[in-house]
């Protein structure tokens, strides 16, 4: 359906028959004899396109350019529409008078893009699709008042088919913002505004869309940071449209970030996810889908095992009990220890369950069954606490002669939301006198003071994480149904983190990830010294990753005695071990 700007009359004289005004002959008509008649015919038809006229559509030749482009846009929009399940368009399209092709196309396009944002009287965003004027007139640049001074009408490629009050901001950044991205696109708009009308053209290049998507996300975050909520709303909507044209990881990440931004703009803050049963379930699926949690558990266990070498009574205090997935592997390693297993005590700490079930006790019971099977003397205690800061070493019944290890997987960063909490917890840990403290945290700084920096960092981080998810969970004939559900749950798990990170503030924002360097500074100043994770841990981690499909992307790196697992060149989580110094 792509057509260049056709000038059919002049360019294809040989298709006109010498008789009849609007019939197309069988071709091969002699040119010389019919030429004078042809020109008469064209004047007579007052510029209707001959070929379409055959089909019954009267379209002016001067309109052909935009009609063609609208058709392209319609085609693409229909394609997407069917993806989104708007299949009614395929069957229930109302046909307007086909002789007025332009307005029919407009009506179709406006049906495809229904207005999603309802606002009162003066609608400066002015959803362009509800405008009633047609496009057949070519010069209507003066018809629409210019929007905020920041958004300027730009001719050339645009997402929307109409002259709009909401011009494609992706192409040109508002002048009030940094000009770096404007120079990147590098074209001026002023000069062409008056001469050329905005042409509705389709965006078909999805790679270009991908770049635009990222830039629109950044622009949206910047707008939110500056408090320009109207601009932010407009951008968030555009993110939605652009995201649809992407596939795979980029689409999902963009959707989650767009949703989080929208929540921030409209102040629809997410419920604080303390429903432990559901979030435990999500974490289980995350555990099963990709190796991050397994890496965390195995490396932490290795450090604990080495700290417990030749000790007879050991006690592990787990801040992140959840389903207790970390401990079976440790218990079997203790069971097979030369010299026999020690007596193993486990104290599990978790948030209160909302359905009154004693979830921690159930987990303890299952672990006890396992311990019984492998003949390890086992004792378990579960502690329910709203926050780790409520804990005190004296509550834990620490006994003489036992060696203590404290383990925390992704549980320290939420403490940063409340001032003083992390210090209190670290001093409580010191009171427990642990032989070793194992900490696993995300390797990224999502706790900076500036929203835009946090947004940028987390966008890169979660893009990498979602990319790595694309590799897992695919393939395999028996497990494919399971894995696609697993993958989806893992994405929801990560999506909740994104939502909290972007949309919430203050004490609600608990996903305050920090880098190893920041944690190191914190722990060292609290009186801890680093313990190097040995080569055993490194080898075991490498082997674990080798066993996973998609191993080519994962990398284990050692950094100052701590192990980082990353995807390609980007470290994503870090395991570190500490002792009292």
């Amino acid at each position: 359906m792509k057509r260049d700007h056709p000038h059919p009359h002049q360019n294809r004289p040989d298709t006109f028959s010498s008789g009849g005004s609007s019939s197309v002959g069988g071709g091969g008509v002699g040119y010389s004899g019919g030429k004078s008649k042809m020109w008469e015919e064209t004047e007579q038809d007052a510029g209707d396109d001959e070929l379409l006229a055959v089909l019954g559509y009267k379209v002016r030749a001067s309109d052909m350019a935009e009609v063609a482009q609208k058709l392209e846009h319609l085609e693409e929009a229909m394609g997407h529409a069917q993806e989104d399940g708007l299949s009614h368009l395929a069957s229930d399209t109302v046909h307007y008078n086909p002789s007025n092709l332009s307005s029919w196309l407009e009506s179709l396009i406006s049906e495809l893009n229904p207005p999603t944002f309802d606002s009162s009287s003066s609608n400066p965003l002015g959803d362009p699709f509800t405008e009633s004027s047609t496009i057949t007139t070519l010069d209507n640049s003066q018809r629409y008042p210019s929007f905020d001074s920041e958004l300027k009408v730009i001719p050339g490629k645009a997402v929307y088919p109409r002259i709009q009050q909401q011009p494609p901001v992706k192409r040109m950044k508002p002048t009030s913002e940094s000009s770096s991205s404007a120079t990147m696109w590098g074209f001026s708009n002023e000069s062409t505004r008056s001469t050329e009308p905005t042409r509705p053209v389709v965006l078909v290049d999805s790679q270009e869309n991908g770049v635009r998507l990222v830039h629109t996300l950044m622009a949206g975050a910047e707008a939110v940071q500056q408090g320009n909520l109207k601009l932010a709303e407009a951008l968030v909507k555009q993110i939605g449209f652009l995201a649809v044209s992407q596939v795979g990881a980029m689409r999902k990440v963009a959707t989650y970030f767009a949703e989080a931004l929208a929540r921030r703009i409209y102040r629809l803050f997410p419920q604080n996810p303390q429903e432990s049963a559901f979030s435990d379930l999500l974490q289980m699926h995350f555990y099963e889908t990709c190796p991050y949690l397994k890496f965390a558990h195995f490396t932490a266990n290795q450090a604990i095992l080495e700290a417990f070498a030749s000790k007879k009574k050991v006690h592990v205090i787990d801040f992140s009990m959840k389903q207790g997935m970390q401990w079976p592997a440790l218990m079997q390693a203790l069971a097979r220890r030369t010299g026999g297993p020690p007596s193993f005590r486990l104290t599990g700490i978790g948030p209160p369950a909302h359905d009154n079930s004693d979830h921690l006790q159930e987990v303890g019971w299952k672990l006890a069954q396992l311990a019984d099977a492998i003949h390890v003397e086992f004792e378990y205690r579960g502690f329910v606490a709203n926050s780790l800061a409520d804990l005190d070493a004296s509550m834990l019944d620490l006994r003489e002669g036992e060696v203590v290890a404290v383990n925390s997987v992704f549980e320290l960063h939420p403490l940063l939301a409340r001032p003083g909490a992390i210090e209190k917890v670290l001093s409580a840990v010191k009171d427990m006198k642990p032989e070793i403290l194992t900490v696993v945290e995300q390797e990224s700084n999502h706790n900076g003071p500036v929203f835009l920096d946090r947004f940028t960092e987390s966008l890169h981080y979660y893009s990498t994480l979602f990319d790595s998810l694309e590799g897992c969970g695919g393939g395999g004939d028996g497990g494919s149904t399971m894995s696609s559900q697993d993958k989806l749950m893992s994405e929801v798990y990560l999506g909740r983190q994104i939502c909290n990170l972007v949309a919430c503030e203050g004490v609600d924002r608990v996903e305050r990830h920090e880098t190893l360097a920041q944690w190191r500074a914190r722990l060292v100043s609290a009186g801890f010294g680093s313990v190097h994770l040995g080569s055993n841990a490194f080898n075991q981690a490498s082997m674990l990753l080798a066993v996973y499909a998609g191993r080519d992307g994962y990398r284990v790196e050692e950094h100052d005695g701590c192990l980082m697992l990353g995807w390609h060149s980007r470290p994503l989580i870090t395991t570190s071990a500490w002792k009292l110094s």
């Binding site: 266990n301 997935m325 390693a333 097979r336 396992l370 099977a373 393939g475 028996g478 066993v547």
Partner: protein, 166 residues
Amino acid sequence: MVNLLQNGDVCMEELKEETPMFCINDNEDVLVEILRRLDGRSLGSAACVCKMWCGIARNDALWEHLCFRHVSPPPSGVRPVVMALGGYRRLYMVCVRPVLSRLGRMRVRVGGGESDLVSRVWTRQEVELSLSLFCVDYYERLLGGGGKLGDAPASSLIFLCKTVNV
């Protein structure tokens, strides 16, 4: 033994006394010795031959030998743990074979049969990893089945069942 008859013909007499009939099913220990040298897939096929072979091939000791015969020195303290967690045959099926095949294919890109893979020497860490994964499998079945341990591998080890495009 060849006999010359009176009419000059040659006939062969059956040598019943010198070569007794040999039936493998009468000699279980020989059978076990043979099966011990097979790889996992062949051992599985052997279990399909007949009831007697099935009973022998399912003997966990055979699978123990299969799992760790190339580990040097043989790991200690493993047996009670493995037996408690479901036995060597399950260990092989759920953990050892997939782990070895993944690691084997990663390192040795020659197209060999499974016997090539198993004949690699295990490292201690591969043993540790397999056992840890096996324990996780047991625990997940505990969690999921509510006490009843089925035969299907648990969810976190499903990834080991997937085909690997190497």
